[in-house]
């Protein structure tokens, strides 16, 4: 499980710019991802959200600085990062169980040896937190979208990461699965206080669960508390003049094609 006192690591993005194949994907990105909080990254398709996550993970080169800081603001070595990708394309026929998958990273013996009692208990413990204990021996390729996301989340939060990056984790899951996943995530974050950066298109999910929102469209449009940032003006800047918000009475936002006052 994630550590209780993970030093509240936060990430400072200082003038980050990314160019891929001659195309400027991101420029002048200056933002702070708050430690021990749920940070949401929103923006239209092609805004550079996944690219920014890749840079934070160290997968692609960038200019500027991505600085991991401790609670005192001092730079620290790259922390342990848990990651849930936007797409997890794999051969669903691969004979690998959830238990195999969860023990891949920390099993000293190769998977073709038996699972020790210790690794099995650790896998059960983490799955129990995900309300997915019953999936232990299920083949990974036979899980539903919601079950699969919980298993991937279990993998991401194993080994006590200080930061967890989630790239549209609820895309492709039904509404019930989405709600369950978000509640689970919020509960885990509140309990373990890890730093969470969530990429999402769902404004209502962001509004309910996030502590901080960063609006991105090639550069940072705005950042701050959801109530301050999610407004028609920012959305128009990000998504175009035709976009706006529709506010439901039950504390729920929806993106709309027309701006509603």
């Amino acid at each position: 499980m994630t550590s209780q006192n993970n030093n509240l690591c936060y990430i400072k993005l200082d003038n980050v710019a990314i160019k891929i194949g001659g195309i400027q994907i991101l420029h002048n990105v200056n933002a702070s991802i708050d430690g021990g909080k749920i940070n949401a990254l929103i923006g239209p398709n092609g805004a550079g959200k996944t690219t920014l996550l890749s840079a934070i993970l160290g997968l692609i080169p960038y200019t500027g600085n991505i600085i991991f800081c401790d609670k005192n603001g001092n730079p620290k070595p790259k922390p342990r990062i848990g990651y849930v990708p936007q797409r997890f394309d794999f051969d669903t026929g691969t004979p690998i169980t959830v238990l195999d998958f969860l023990t891949l990273s920390d099993k000293t013996l190769p998977l073709w040896f038996w699972h020790s009692k210790k690794t099995k208990l650790e896998a059960i413990k983490i799955l129990r937190e995900m309300k997915a204990e019953h999936l232990l021996y299920r083949p990974l390729g036979k899980l539903s979208g919601g079950e699969f996301q919980r298993v991937i989340l279990a993998m991401a939060i194993k080994n006590e990461p200080e930061i967890i990056l989630l790239d549209e984790p609820v895309s492709g899951i039904d509404v019930a699965g989405e709600e369950m996943f978000c509640e689970l995530l919020t509960m885990l974050q509140k309990k373990d206080k890890f730093t969470l950066l969530l990429v999402s298109h769902d404004i209502s999910v962001v509004n309910i669960h996030a502590d901080k929102v960063i609006c991105l469209n090639k550069t940072v449009i705005n950042q701050g508390k959801p109530a301050d940032v999610i407004n028609p003006e920012n959305l128009r800047t990000m998504y175009g003049s035709h976009m706006g918000l529709h506010y439901h009475k039950h504390n729920h936002f929806e993106l709309n094609n027309e701006v509603k006052a």
């Binding site: 890749s54 993970l57 160290g58 997968l59 990062i81 848990g82 990651y83 990708p85 997890f88 794999f90 051969d91 026929g93 691969t94 004979p95 690998i96 169980t97 238990l99 195999d100 998958f101 891949l104 990273s105 099993k107 190769p110 998977l111 073709w112 040896f113 038996w114 021996y137 083949p139 990974l140 993998m155 991401a156 080994n159």
Partner: protein, 285 residues
Amino acid sequence: MNAFFDAVLSLMDTLIPFAWAKPVFMKQALIAVLLITPMCSAIGVLVVNFKMSFFSDAISHSAFTGVALGILFNIDPSLAMILFGLAVAFGIAYTRHETTLSIDTIIGVFFCATVSFGIAIISYYKGLTRNLQTFLYGEILTVNRTELGWFFLLFMIVFVYLFFYYNKLLYIGLNDKIAFTKGINVKQCDYIYSLVLAMVITVSIKLIGILLITGMIIVPAASARNIAKDASTMFWSSISFGTTAGIGGLISSFYLDTSTGATIVLWATCIFFITQVIRKFLKTA
């Protein structure tokens, strides 16, 4: 070393009191089978899971060119074949990391380049064709003690490698980004895997031959995949199927007077079809 081999052969005389095992060449061939087939089947699990059978084909066919170059430059053809196979594997891995082309496109380019180069050499030096026959079909029955020593060394290298890298490679096969976040050096793993696979393929050509070595790598693993539900079962089933095919093929070829390499692969394919039936039965049960 010779005394050790003599002791092993004498022990085999006691343990396997059958007519087919009486000739020394059959006993040596059996040792070769027991070293090569588990190795091919074990590494084959990763080949099947990574969908890299085309890579295996490209390396085995590059052996043509390696052998031809060896004969031309008066280098031991087996050594030239291995070195050339390693060079092609490195080239494929390097191009994969340096371009955005898909892996099958890259392998296709290398496949065409090496085979056409080999054919050009062979067609220019007409006398070379005769020397290539051995490598085309494999000649397990002529394996000597020195070669067995090399097979044993490679066997040890491959299983030590799989001990330390199996989980990492499986992780990369599932998702290389997550593997990276777990501290796995994806690029390094890919290079080493390509080179080890190329080594296994080129060394095993002596046993199975250029034309069928890919079969020996992928068919046992494909059979195992038909029935396995977890990673461990797939690994051990693949080794069991490969070794059974190896022993069965060797004995059958002795009595039927057929090519040993081809008979082994035929056994492997029979096992594959049996597992297909079992799979269907398990699905409906």
